[in-house]
C-alpha cells in the first residue's frame, strides 16, 4: 500500500517538472561560484551544462528565463558519505566483503532521494557500511528523482570501495558478558585494532599475488605463449583496482592512531586513500594527512556517541583545513536523509567553529567533495563547461533562515518548492481516494459473516 502511494506521488511530480533540454537563464541572482568568487549576475544553461556565467550575459531568444532577483545560487551540494537509496548497507559476515556492492541494491523509489534533493543535494556518495575492515563497493548517485536506478548513477565517476577502522569492524570480534556461551563460537576476526590492520595487510598481500598471476598470464599471452588465465577472484579484483589507482578508497575512521596506521599501510602497498571518512580525530594528525595528500570528510559537530568519538570537536574541519587537508562535510544519512537537507547550515557552522570564510565553508559541501571524489571537472562549482547542477536559495545559503527553492541537475529542474506546495492538496486527495478503494476492496474480499441457513 505504502509503495503504491509513493509511486503515484513521484509520477505526478515528474509530470509537472519541466524536462526540456533547451536553454535556461537564471537572472539577477547572487551567484556563489565557490571557485571564482561571488557576483550578481546570470547563468546560462544549455544542453545540461553551464554555458556562461557572468555579470552580463546575452540571453538567447526563446530561453526559459528564471528571475532570481534577491536569491542566491550555489553549485549542487555533494554529500561525500551517505547510505541512502539502497536496500542493504552492510555485508558484515566476513572481514573482507569487497565482492559485494551497494550499487546492486539501489532503490530509486526511496523517498530519501527526494528529501535530499529538497535540501539542495544533487550528488550523493552512497557507501557500503562499516562492519568490516575492507567493506563492499560504493556507488555515486545523482539525485535524479523519478529516474530508474541505472539512470541515477554518476556515469563519469571512478568506482570506489569502503574500508573501516576502529570500533565498528572489531565489534563482531568481541564477546560481551551477556552473550550465551555458544555465541562465542561465532566471533568474527578481528576483535582489536591490531587485527583490523592485519586484515587489511593480509588482503593486500593476496591482492598483490593475484595481480602477479594476471600479469604473468598477460605477459605470456602477449608473447603468443600458451597460457591459462587465472580463475577470477571477485573479492580480489576490486583490491587490484585499488593497487592500480582505478578504484578510490573511502575509509571510515575515528582515532588518530588508527588513521596513522592506515596511512602507513597504504604507503607499504603503494596505494592511495581518497578520503578518510568521519576522521573525527583528524585534527590531531592534520600534518600527516596533509603530507599524504589524503582527503578528509567529516561531521560538523557530532561527538560523544561512542568512546572513539569522545575527543571529537567541531573545530576538526577548520584545523585540518588550516593545515592543508582537503576537507568536506557529510551527513552519513541512512534511510531518512535528515542531515542531507541542511548540509548548507552544517557548512555555516564552520564560520563559527574555526572562523572560516563563506567561500571556504561553501567549498566543504561543493568543490572539496567533488575533488575528493575526482569529479571536480564535471561538478562542484559554477563554471562554464560544468554540468548544470544548481541550487537556488531564497536567502544566504549558509544561514539557518534560508530555504531551497529550486534544484537543477544536468540543467533539468528536479525540485521546485512552489510546485511541491501546489501538489500537496492533490496528493492528499489521491491518498484519500486510494485508501477508500482499499477499504472497498477489503469489504469485497471479506469472508461472508452470515451464511444462509
Amino acid at each position: 500500500m505504502r509503495i503504491l502511494l509513493i509511486g503515484a506521488w513521484s509520477a505526478a511530480f515528474c509530470l509537472t517538472a519541466g524536462f526540456a533540454q533547451d536553454v535556461t537563464v537564471i537572472q539577477n541572482a547572487t551567484i556563489h561560484t565557490v571557485t571564482k568568487g561571488t557576483m550578481k549576475g546570470s547563468i546560462v544553461i544549455r544542453d545540461g551544462k553551464i554555458a556562461e556565467v557572468g555579470e552580463k550575459v546575452m540571453t538567447p531568444s526563446g530561453a526559459r528565463v528564471i528571475d532570481a532577483a534577491g536569491k542566491h545560487v550555489i553549485p549542487g551540494i555533494i554529500d561525500c558519505h551517505t547510505h541512502i537509496a539502497v536496500d542493504a548497507i552492510n555485508e558484515g559476515s566476513v572481514s573482507v566483503s569487497s565482492m559485494v556492492g551497494v550499487g546492486d541494491v539501489v532503490n530509486s523509489e526511496g523517498k530519501d532521494i527526494y528529501r535530499a534533493l529538497a535540501g539542495g543535494v544533487t550528488t550523493a556518495n552512497v557507501l557500503h557500511g562499516s562492519a568490516n575492515a575492507i567493506g563492499g563497493k560504493n556507488v555515486l548517485l545523482k539525485m535524479r528523482w523519478g529516474k530508474d536506478a541505472d539512470a541515477l548513477v554518476f556515469q563519469e565517476a571512478l568506482p570506489s570501495i569502503k574500508f573501516a577502522l576502529g570500533e565498528n569492524p572489531k565489534r563482531a570480534g568481541q564477546a560481551t558478558g551477556f552473550q550465551a556461551p555458544g555465541a562465542q563460537q561465532n566471533l568474527r576476526y578481528p576483535g582489536t585494532r591490531m587485527g583490523v590492520e592485519d586484515v587489511i595487510r593480509e588482503a593486500f598481500l593476496r591482492a598483490q599475488e593475484y595481480q602477479k598471476e594476471w600479469k604473468a598470464y598477460e605477459a605470456k599471452k602477449s608473447k603468443g605463449e600458451a597460457a591459462l588465465p587465472p580463475r577470477r577472484d571477485l573479492q580480489m579484483e576490486p583490491l587490484v583496482e585499488v593497487l592500480e589507482g582505478k578504484r578510490l578508497v573511502h575509509a571510515h575512521c575515528y582515532r588518530a592512531d588508527e588513521i596513522l596506521m592506515l596511512l602507513r599501510v597504504a604507503e607499504e602497498f603503494h596505494f592511495k586513500i581518497a578520503t578518510l571518512q568521519h576522521v573525527l580525530e583528524g585534527y590531531k594528525l592534520a600534518k600527516e594527512i596533509a603530507a599524504a595528500g589524503v582527503g578528509a570528510s567529516t561531521f560538523s559537530d557530532w561527538w560523544s556517541y561512542k568512546v572513539e568519538a569522545y575527543d571529537a570537536i567541531p573545530y576538526n574541519a577548520a584545523i585540518m583545513h588550516k593545515k592543508g587537508v582537503l576537507v568536506s562535510l557529510n551527513s552519513d544519512d541512512a534511510g531518512g536523509a535528515e542531515l542531507m537537507r541542511r548540509l548548507n547550515t552544517e557548512a555555516g557552522k564552520m564560520m563559527k567553529y574555526g572562523g572560516l570564510t563563506e567561500d571556504e565553508a561553501l567549498a566543504m559541501i561543493t568543490i572539496n567533495p567533488a575533488k575528493q571524489l575526482k569529479i571536480d571537472q564535471y561538478v562542484g562549482s559554477i563554471e562554464a563547461g560544468k554540468q548544470a547542477d544548481l541550487v537556488i536559495y531564497d536567502k544566504d545559503p549558509l544561514s539557518i533562515y534560508s530555504k531551497v527553492e529550486k534544484v537543477f541537475i544536468d540543467g533539468n529542474q528536479y525540485f521546485d518548492r512552489e510546485k511541491d506546495l501546489e501538489e500537496r492538496p492533490k496528493q492528499d486527495a489521491r491518498k484519500k481516494g486510494l485508501l477508500e478503494k482499499e477499504k472497498e476492496t477489503e469489504k469485497r474480499n471479506a469472508p461472508l459473516s452470515r451464511r444462509p441457513s
Partner: protein
C-alpha cells in the same frame, strides 16, 4: 566567610565589590519581553537585574564595567528537556543514569545524579544555554521521575539547582507496532509482529496501569489528609501529592493525534497541570491544545517526516502551525550530543512559518513560563536573575558566537574540552 575572602582575592583588583555586581554598557539589548534597546546599559547588583535602559544611573562608588560595544545581549536560553549530566557517552551503559527500572518512579529526582564535571556542560553552555530541565527517564517506564530545572554552572548539583522538582516526567502509551513511538520518549515495543490488535492490547494494558497508579496515589492522598491512623509513608505516593493537587506540572511524552486526545482527556479528568512533549502529529487536537492552554515542548526539528508520504518539510513547519493556532511552544533537545544545537532547532522553523520573535521566546521566556519560573528567569527585566548571554549576532543563527555568559550575574567560563583541544592541536608544530 573563608570562601568569600578567596573569591575577592581571586577577582583581584579588576573590580570592586562582588563579581555579580556590574554595569554592562553600550550593547544592544534584546529583553525578549519587549522590543530591543540600542545603546543600552544593564545594571546588575548581587546577581539580579536592577535596571535596563538607555539611561541607567550607576550606583555610587566603584563598579565593575563590562563593555558591550558592538555586541548583543539576550537572556540565557533554556532547554526544556535533556538528560545532560546523566549521560556522558550514549553507547556506554556505565556512563548513563537515564531510565530507572520499573514502571512508576515519581519519587526519583534527576538532579542528584548530575555529574557537574560532565564534559557536555561547558560544551552546551558555550552556545548560550544557561539552564536545562534535566530528564530522568526514557524508554520502558511509564512515570519516569521528577525533572529538575538546573543551571549549567556550579561546583555541585546543589549549586546548579533552580528547582529540584520542576515537573513530573511520564509518557502516554502508544499504539506501537514494534517501532518506536516517536518524539522524545518512544514506546515499549511489546506488540512487535502482533499487528494492530496486539498493539491495542499492550496500549490498553499500560493505560490501565497508569489509571490504577493514579487511583492508588489519590487514595493515599485522601488517607493522609484525613489523618488515617496507621498510614505508612510511601515515597512514590508522597511524590504524587503535588501532582494530584495540580501544583507540579506533568510533562507527558505523546506524539500522535489519537494518543494526544487520550492523554489530554485523562489529564483533564485527573485535573492535572499538563505539558505535552515530543508532539509530532497533533492533527485536530491542535485547536484543543490552544483552547485548554496546554503548552507543547517540541523535540528537534531535525527529524525526518513521520511517514514516507508526508511533506518533506513536515518537522520544520510544525512549530509554526502550533504557534499560529495559539499553542504556547518551547523546545527541548531531548538528548545530550546535540543539546548545544537547541537555538538552531528553533531557528529551523522560522523559514517555514514560525515568526522569529516566537522562535526566540520558545527557548527563553516561554520555557520559563511553562516551568513556572518566569518571575525570575526567561527575559531581561528588572527584578529577574541576570542569566545573560552576550553575542556577536543573532544567537539562533549558526554563524554567531557567544562571547560572554553570566549566570545569576556571575561570569561563566565559555571554554570547554572542545576549545581546549582546538587550541592544543592548532598549535601543534
Amino acid at each position: 566567610m573563608m570562601r568569600l575572602a578567596w573569591i575577592a582575592l581571586a577577582a583581584g583588583t579588576l573590580m570592586a565589590g562582588q563579581d555579580n555586581t556590574f554595569l554592562l554598557r553600550n550593547a544592544t539589548v534584546y529583553p525578549v519581553s519587549g522590543p530591543k534597546i540600542e545603546n543600552a546599559t544593564i545594571l546588575v547588583v548581587d546577581g539580579k537585574i536592577v535596571e535596563v535602559g538607555v539611561k541607567v544611573t550607576p550606583p555610587k562608588g566603584k563598579i565593575k564595567i563590562v563593555e558591550g560595544k558592538g555586541l548583543q545581549v539576550y537572556p540565557g536560553m533554556i532547554d526544556s528537556g535533556s538528560p545532560i549530566g546523566l549521560s556522558e557517552i550514549s553507547s556506554v551503559r556505565e556512563t548513563n543514569d537515564v531510565g530507572e527500572l520499573g514502571d512508576f518512579n515519581p519519587q526519583l529526582r534527576s538532579i542528584i545524579a548530575v555529574n557537574p564535571e560532565s564534559e557536555h556542560i561547558p560544551v552546551v553552555r558555550a552556545n548560550g544555554i544557561t539552564s536545562v530541565m534535566v530528564l530522568p527517564g526514557g524508554g520502558n517506564g511509564l512515570v519516569y521521575g521528577q525533572i529538575s530545572l538546573m543551571h549549567l554552572s556550579g561546583w555541585t548539583w546543589e549549586e546548579m539547582e533552580i528547582r529540584r522538582g520542576a515537573a513530573l516526567q511520564m509518557r502516554w502509551p502508544t499504539y506501537s507496532m514494534g517501532g518506536r513511538g516517536g518524539g522524545g520518549g518512544g514506546g515499549r515495543g511489546g506488540a512487535a509482529g502482533g499487528g494492530m490488535a496486539e498493539a491495542k492490547r499492550v496500549h490498553d494494558q499500560q493505560v490501565k496501569l497508569i489509571q490504577e497508579f493514579f487511583e492508588q496515589s489519590r487514595a493515599y492522598q485522601l488517607a493522609k489528609v484525613a489523618g488515617t491512623p496507621g498510614l505508612k509513608p510511601e515515597l512514590k505516593f508522597e511524590a504524587m501529592i503535588p501532582v494530584l493537587e495540580g501544583k507540579l506540572p506533568v510533562m507527558i511524552t505523546v506524539a500522535r493525534e489519537r494518543e494526544i486526545k487520550e492523554a489530554v482527556e485523562w489529564a483533564t479528568k485527573e485535573k492535572l497541570k499538563v505539558v505535552l512533549a515530543g508532539v509530532r502529529r497533533p492533527g485536530k487536537m491542535t485547536e484543543e491544545l490552544a483552547k485548554r492552554n496546554i503548552p507543547v515542548i517540541l523535540g528537534s526539528t531535525f527529524e525526518v517526516p513521520l511517514e514516507d508520504d508526508d511533506p518533506y518539510d513536515e518537522p520544520f513547519s510544525l512549530p509554526g502551525e502550533l504557534q499560529k493556532a495559539g499553542v504556547k511552544i518551547a523546545f527541548a533537545s531531548f538528548g545530550v550530543q546535540f543539546a548545544r544545537n537547541l537555538p538552531y532547532q528553533a531557528a529551523q522553523a522560522v523559514p517555514f512559518g514560525l515568526p522569529y520573535d516566537e522562535a526566540l521566546k520558545s527557548v527563553t521566556l516561554n520555557a520559563a513560563e511553562i516551568w513556572g519560573v518566569a518571575d525570575q528567569y526567561g527575559s531581561i527585566e528588572k527584578g529577574k536573575w541576570a542569566d545573560l548571554i552576550v553575542t556577536d549576532g543573532d544567537p539562533l543563527e549558526v554563524k554567531t558566537s557567544v562571547r560572554m555568559m553570566f549566570v545569576k550575574g556571575e561570569p561563566v567560563d565559555l571554554e570547554s574540552k572542545h576549545t581546549r583541544l582546538y587550541k592544543k592541536y592548532l598549535a601543534r608544530p
